[in-house]
Subunit: 219 residues, 2 copies
Amino acid sequence: VIEIENVTKIYQMGETTVAALRGVSLQVEKGEMVSIMGPSGSGKSTLMNIIGCLDQPTEGVYRLDNVDVSKMNDDELADIRNKKIGFVFQSFNLLPRTAALAQVELPMIYAGAPDRRKRALDALQQVGLGDRVHHRPNELSGGQQQRVAIARALVNHPAIMLADEPTGNLDSVSGEDIMNIFKRLNREQGMTVILVTHDPDVAAHAARVIHVKDGKVTV
Amino acid sequence: VIEIENVTKIYQMGETTVAALRGVSLQVEKGEMVSIMGPSGSGKSTLMNIIGCLDQPTEGVYRLDNVDVSKMNDDELADIRNKKIGFVFQSFNLLPRTAALAQVELPMIYAGAPDRRKRALDALQQVGLGDRVHHRPNELSGGQQQRVAIARALVNHPAIMLADEPTGNLDSVSGEDIMNIFKRLNREQGMTVILVTHDPDVAAHAARVIHVKDGKVTV
Ligand SMILES: Nc1ncnc2c1ncn2[C@@H]1O[C@H](COP(=O)(O)OP(=O)(O)OP(=O)(O)O)[C@@H](O)[C@H]1O
Ligand SMILES: Nc1ncnc2c1ncn2[C@@H]1O[C@H](COP(=O)(O)OP(=O)(O)OP(=O)(O)O)[C@@H](O)[C@H]1O
Ligand SMILES: [Mg+2]
Ligand SMILES: [Mg+2]
């Protein structure tokens, strides 16, 4: 369902060039659960942003469900980002003045979904934040903010979950709970899952691990 | 050097009360290296903010080098935060539009230190960011931002290092490098180190581990 072909991402900074991705190719089948691991700065988040249709490659092709993403118009892209893909960002990207409940309801407003409040409460309950629904981000711990971001990514039942280091701020028990949610959705609903992680125990939950180093996929 | 006596921290949110710390006592000797571990939301960052003089307890006493912190005036507090304590925040707290080099020079400007540029370059080199010194935070990976925060905390040679999950966004090799920097400064310069971490491998570098659960220290 995800085909990345020889993708390159170059940042131009004045006279310097930073090559974040240098010819990456990978394929992920529908319903697969894969992990991406690699050193800090090796290109993992850059790759995730391209897969999530939040960024365009400098060269190469990205096909999502057999459609070349660079040929899509803005409406099609917005639709994909809102309904097809759930994204847990490495730095959470929560709205600073918005309570947890509203943060998780937001994707459903865009998708025009019914039962928003109930579904948002369910999602927050599932990630252990049932008693924190009215807290804003600065009234939440780091791991609680991370879990709001996870609940928000899950709430539209996306076909593809992209999670960039989703357990980095969590103790091992909370981390396990999150991984069990992802695995259950993968098993029961066929949700395709791509997880970036620095934790080998987390990576072990996936069927295979893709290693990234210096902007390249190493076998 | 650090004496926390029966400290409580209560947040009032309209009609609800959240007790983030519920009678915590602990002591850290000069030159010690200790870890703090505990579930997400258990009160670790709240405790660190009090130790770092960034927040006041609701009840209880905090003595730093035998002086009651609540009796200090603003100048004394500013001085402590700038020169005596280095703080690595869980969410980095970098200035969004400032390049890495300037971020690391900033504490030295406040401290009136000489050789700022050279020392900032050295610190960034030590954390593996010698080739990223002109990048702003949105041009850096998550782990690179974390390392800028670490370099910034070290650069004034503080007597006390408070690091709140300093390796959460780092692969194991980069994480080891950071731990080795902390251990070397602890050993060679007697820097007192308090590390919050979810990673038992990281906690193992410390002489002892303090466990926090539901706002209390458990033995
Ligand atoms: N300003 C606030 N108002 C209300 N509650 C708050 C506020 N700040 C923190 N809390 C609550 O206090 C508790 C402790 O938060 P703290 O950030 O210390 O946890 P933590 O142990 O650092 O967690 P993590 O491992 O997830 O970073 C949390 O349950 C949090 O929801
Ligand atoms: N806007 C930008 N301009 C210039 N360089 C950038 C930009 N964004 C990212 N980079 C560089 O691209 C490289 C890859 O970044 P990326 O965020 O993908 O790394 P990562 O593998 O996710 O790292 P981490 O594990 O630390 O999160 C890094 O070396 C980074 O400095
Ligand atoms: Mg990243
Ligand atoms: Mg915390």
